[in-house]
Symmetry: C2
């Protein structure tokens, strides 16, 4: 199944055995004090620089999240979306739990890219979320990330998460949103506190792929929280998650792109290793120039 | 399914959701000029040092291969086995295509470890191999690695490799060798010259696990031959291969142990991340001491 997203100048196709699409995660103040402070001051210069750096590092789509204490998302999210759209040509994933902020940002996106199509990040299985977010997705003709959690929070069993995925897909289709525009996030918890955390995520991914074949994202880095040498764990987890069915993980592209390119190569999505070798040569040139 | 192998002093259990067992690959002159020259001169000091270094790096079992031009394996393989057994307590994988050399080495192994059980590496689906190697495996009560290739060489399709695995398991069982003593190698070719190379291997692994549940080894590093930054590719491939069913890859333990520990952690085989953290602290102490 293929999801098409786009900016004014660039179309990104997700799925259908294409190379993995990377959604850049870094425009998000969670855990970033400096960015949070800048956003509170209405200063979007860091956002602009992060957009440029992530595009340069090979992110195909950029997530934009300005949610922090004392930030008026309804005012700032559309501004951030405008700044990022002016800086780079990557399509955006507009990331907020606030439907009014999503609507304001979608208006800006539509104005700057009338033929474009962003991702709304996110809806989940809660009735309140489904009934407020999916109509926006329909109205603006976007794709949407569906988190496999509901009123009960994050669920412990793969079967429960698969049921939430099913609910989100069914509700979207009932509103006339095509299934290929729903991107499921099977959610990763921390393996240091729950031995089964990654296994449950991988099992959910496999079952969602088998049952619906929809595209899937994943914020893989949570899995290694609290442990040393997190990149080794995150890289191994991404390899397993992509092999299981994740097609557009949300990541720090500068850190994980080499391993994702290796995974695509191994999964037969990079004939003659052309993408792998091109990225390697680019890193070498940079290392030499720096 | 569980395979037990052992030396005089150490038992290693493979499979049954235990942590991945690493077979150390470095005592093998293929591509190592210095080792090949030493073996031709009958000098086993490098072999002894490699044995110690690999055990220190976390290899659970050591492969011993002395096959090089102008080396008399029948004389040298038992000598090498003796040297390694005197140096380390890891069980061995005795690696030769020469049945007489295997027999001579198995005699030494039996004498030095009467209660032990090595691995014979390897048999394949060729009639000549099956009829010469499996009787030795039966006679000496060893485990055996079965390569999924036959008179036609390495086969291009997963289905063909699965059929060879089936043949090897059936022939072993017909001789009274228990199925759990057969360790299948689904073989990895080079992805830079064949886009499907890794995919076929992964598909074979999944099918062998589903159909027989036997333990599986894999020499994963071939997959990246001819490409730069091979460790990134090898690590990603190992992660996918272990998730698919490989339980005892043959590897350079010093290079890949961190990623394998991360994979075991993610697959729920390392409660409280104890093995992962212990290995991390050991590496840190070494780095500080060095």
């Amino acid at each position: 199944m293929e999801t098409r997203v786009g900016s004014a100048t660039k179309t990104v196709l997700i799925g259908g055995d294409r190379p993995t699409v990377l959604i850049g995660e870094r425009i998000n103040p969670t855990g970033k004090k400096k960015l949070a402070a800048a956003l509170r001051a209405g200063n979007l210069e860091i956002v602009r620089r992060e957009a440029l750096a992530q595009a340069e590092a090979g992110a195909d789509i950029l997530d934009v999240n300005v949610g922090a204490a004392e930030v008026d998302e309804v005012a700032l999210l559309p501004e951030a979306v405008r700044v990022v759209m002016e800086a780079v040509d990557a399509p955006l994933s507009i990331d907020s739990a606030n439907p009014a902020a999503l609507r304001a940002a979608l208006e800006v996106y539509r104005r700057l890219a009338p033929e474009g199509k962003p991702i709304v990040n996110s809806v989940n299985g809660e009735e309140r979320s489904l009934s407020r977010v999916l109509p926006l997705v329909k109205e603006y003709g976007t794709a949407v990330i569906g988190l496999t959690m509901d009123e009960g929070g994050i669920l412990n069993e793969a079967e429960e998460r698969v049921a939430v995925a099913h609910k989100i897909v069914a509700r979207a289709e009932a509103l006339g949103i095509p299934r290929e525009d729903v991107i499921i996030d099977c959610l990763a918890l921390t393996v240091s506190t729950d031995r089964r955390a990654a296994l449950v995520t991988l099992e959910t991914i496999r079952r969602v792929r088998e049952e619906w074949g929809v595209n899937m994202t994943l914020g893989a880095s949570n899995v290694s929280f609290g442990l040393p040498e997190r990149e080794v764990i995150n890289g191994a987890f991404l390899a397993m998650a992509i092999a299981a069915g994740v097609t557009c993980p949300i990541v720090d592209a500068a850190r994980v792109r080499p391993v994702v390119l290796a995974v695509d190569l191994l999964l037969g999505r990079d004939e003659y290793a052309m993408r792998y070798l091109r990225a390697y040569r680019k890193r070498r040139r940079k290392a030499t120039a720096g």
